[in-house]
Symmetry: C2
Subunit: 242 residues, 2 copies
């Protein structure tokens, strides 16, 4: 059984305001929930249509019907279970290693894909400007496929962060140096920009290295890459010589 | 004015069946429509809420109201104009150069992103298995941001195509050779697999080279990359030494 109050609380968590207030977020589907159960995230409560998971304390599980799941799910096609987890405190970002910084990335799918990429390339810290989409947004959580558990995402004033760091700061610009022609270091901050406007003038002014992904197609065209595919290419270049 | 019949024809084009029958597809929004107008695609008819485009024959334009646009649009938020274009005949794929082949890629966003990547990396031909999502699907057209005009997408029996080619065939597999350790050729077919199942056993049997993108994160995890981000990394590797 899910009470009316529980439905209200859970659907409320689709909004950032209530996630901040309750310090809770949710994930759906056996694969994503299993990945988060295996991680350091603390389970708050699991709503499930069947006994898919072993070893969970009885007071943290509620068996529900598919109809009840529909009432709490954020998915068009609900997927067997929904779990609430506690939002942990952000960890401090060290001033060493490779760090990705996002300047107003607004699309949940893009943020989710970038979190997966960080996980793949062994990048433990992702710094987001305050205007980025929230990493605990249900669409981001689903897109990360569990990688959210392995990447520390922190939200901060990006300009202040970039002004203070001692690390080199890399930004991608049309007039930057060809990423294929120089060996990339294993210490640095890589800024990726907003979907429509790219990197802001404020962040651009704080970039110490301007890089570019060469284009091989028709050079008359001004078309750009999507921010997540650009991040894939750049992270691959930074890691390929390790 | 848009007649009831026109509304029926245009909304019908959201279905592959009617696109095949009428040999028409549509695109929306000033940016995408402008890119397609600048290309080799033949305009069939333009429905627009304002005179955004110059030099179009008067009998090919209908000025409509935002309310009328809503009735023909496939977007949640209609974007000022909608244009119908003729679907051209598929061009033959040469047995030379770099070619991308998709094995049952089903998600319109992924296909659109891969078409954009082909355009960026100067890959003119994209071979799709018959189970791939249709490249003239409205969601694909919007995701390509105009790149559809510059990449020849052909649908064919992939197994037959791979069996006949004289080009080397590259497939990405966990046990493949590290893409960062060998120089990639400028002739070959790169197969990318289905979102859930990867490359099919039939296509795998026809791959002449097994490659892999090394993972740098926690190696206990079995997580994979999204097919579009994997394509970005692989295409970048094939082009980086040109």
């Amino acid at each position: 059984m899910v009470s009316k109050n529980q439905i209200k609380t859970i659907t409320g968590l689709q909004q950032k305001k209530f996630r901040k207030q309750d310090k809770l977020f949710f994930a759906e589907g056996i694969k994503v929930v299993q990945e988060l159960l295996n991680s350091n995230f603390e389970l708050h409560h699991l709503y499930t249509t069947d006994a898919f998971f072993k070893g969970i304390a009885a007071d943290k599980v509620t068996l529900i019907t598919p109809d009840e799941l529909k009432k709490i799910s954020a998915l068009t096609t609900p997927q067997a279970c929904l779990a609430l987890f506690t939002i942990p405190d952000e960890k401090p970002v060290p001033d060493t290693g490779l760090i990705v910084a996002l300047d107003d990335v607004r699309d949940p799918g893009n943020l989710g894909t970038i979190i997966r990429l960080c996980d793949w390339f062994g990048i433990s810290h992702l710094v987001c400007s305050l205007q980025c989409v929230d990493s605990y947004n249900p669409k981001v959580v689903q897109a990360t496929m569990g990688s959210l558990a392995r990447v520390n995402v922190i939200y901060t004033d990006l300009q202040e962060y970039l002004a203070k760091t001692k690390l080199p700061v890399y930004g991608t610009f049309m007039d930057g140096t060809n990423i294929y022609k120089e060996a990339m270091p294993q210490n640095g901050i890589i800024i990726m920009g907003n979907e429509a406007n790219g990197i802001s003038a404020e962040a651009e002014a704080l970039a110490t290295h301007r890089i570019a992904i060469p284009r091989f197609g028709n050079l008359q065209q001004t078309e750009s890459l999507n921010v997540a595919t650009a991040a894939a290419i750049i992270l691959s270049e930074f890691r390929r010589n390790v």
